[in-house]
């Protein structure tokens, strides 16, 4: 908890990092000043793009004492406003899972190379980023906590699979390597409460450590203060749960 007589400072800037296939992509890095060691956090931007909300979110984690990095998962799709680039990726059916995983692995490696980062690294994602986070925590090594905020399409029927997303993430549940915090709105259409039930049952079946919170009066994206989906009370409670979970799993 921040105290008013406490020193605080951070550095936040765009950096280059190696992602999938060794490609250098850009990323937004925010870190508290000081020698550390600080735990790390990889932030996976949502489907609409690598936008201002994600920059703020990255700084928010830094403010709470985490060295935080948000890789630009759409780097290879060209540059322009986040909306224009996001619209291009939307038309292409989303970023390929394989490429996203390569970039997230690169972000993990990047954090681990920094002298002020402790050995604990979490991963946070909302919307498609929640889905990618679940994939990362199942398929990659080196993540110690996962925060999945309303990740849609973790549960996918066969007809929803595409060349870019060829496997439903829920099929990898047995490989989940860290505790998961899930936040969901009961009025969400993707994931629906029934899909969250299915996901929870699979986690239970495989004996995974999970903590799901489901909010009445909230739908998809209830943290987004710039969208009508924002729900103040649920968002405030959700953020408290996020940081309590991080303190337990990453400190």
């Amino acid at each position: 908890m921040y105290q008013t007589d406490q020193y605080e400072g951070m550095i936040a800037e765009t950096v280059g990092m190696k992602g999938h296939n060794g490609d250098v992509i850009n990323a937004y890095l925010a870190r508290p000043l000081g020698a550390g060691p600080f735990p790390g956090m990889v932030l996976i931007h949502h489907a609409p793009g690598w936008d201002e909300w994600y920059r703020e979110c990255t700084r928010r984690f830094a403010h709470h004492g985490y060295v935080s990095i948000s890789p630009n998962l759409y780097f290879r799709d060209g540059h322009g406003s986040p909306e224009d680039v996001g619209a291009k990726v939307r038309a292409a059916g989303g970023a390929p899972d394989t490429r996203v995983l390569g970039d997230l692995d690169g972000a993990n490696v990047y954090l681990r190379s920094l002298p002020y980062v402790s050995g604990k690294i979490g991963v946070f994602g909302t919307c498609s980023g929640g889905r990618h986070g679940f994939l990362a925590a199942c398929r990659l090594k080196g993540f110690d906590a996962l925060i999945d905020c309303w990740g849609g399409r973790v549960v996918q029927s066969k007809d929803e699979l595409t060349p870019n997303q060829p496997v439903a993430p829920i099929d990898y549940t047995k490989d989940l390597s860290c505790p998961i915090l899930g936040l969901f709105g009961n009025e969400d259409k993707s994931p629906t409460p029934e899909q969250v039930n299915t996901h929870e049952a699979e986690l239970k079946k495989h004996g995974k450590r999970y903590e799901f919170h489901r909010y009445d009066g909230a739908g998809h994206g209830f943290f987004y203060y710039d969208r009508p989906a924002y729900r103040q009370e649920q968002a405030v409670d959700g953020w408290k749960k996020v940081f309590a979970f991080c303190e337990r799993t990453l400190r």
Binding site: G78, E83, D84, G86, A87, K88, A91, G93, C127, G152
Partner: protein, 104 residues
């Protein structure tokens, strides 16, 4: 995006999202999260020219009812024009659009 329902069609036309017109070659139609319309999902149409970069885009985000009415209206207008024999169903080849400097 969260539904991943997106189709692309090749088109011929011109679009404007600033002071200048540019050639649009593709229309991307999706039912997914809009950027500005205050709905969780919307019918989104992006008229783009992929060769000119992501910024060459004219975007509209429609409610489902608005989209259905638009489709009917386009069909009705084309049918009326066809009935009058004024449809110009041919390729635009005479003057290429000036386009833009590639943004990427």
């Amino acid at each position: 995006m969260c539904t991943m329902i997106a189709h692309q069609v090749k088109i011929q036309g011109r679009g404007k999202n600033g002071p200048e017109w540019f050639e649009v070659r593709e229309a991307n139609v999706s039912y997914d999260h809009p950027y500005d319309l205050p709905l969780e999902h919307a019918l989104n149409i992006d008229f783009v020219n992929e060769a000119l970069g992501p910024g060459a885009r004219v975007a509209v985000e429609l409610s489902v009812e608005g989209a259905r009415q638009l489709v009917k209206t386009i069909e009705a207008v084309l049918a009326q024009a066809d009935q009058r024999g004024v449809l110009e169903d041919r390729l635009v080849v005479a003057v290429p659009a000036p386009g833009r400097v590639r943004e990427a």
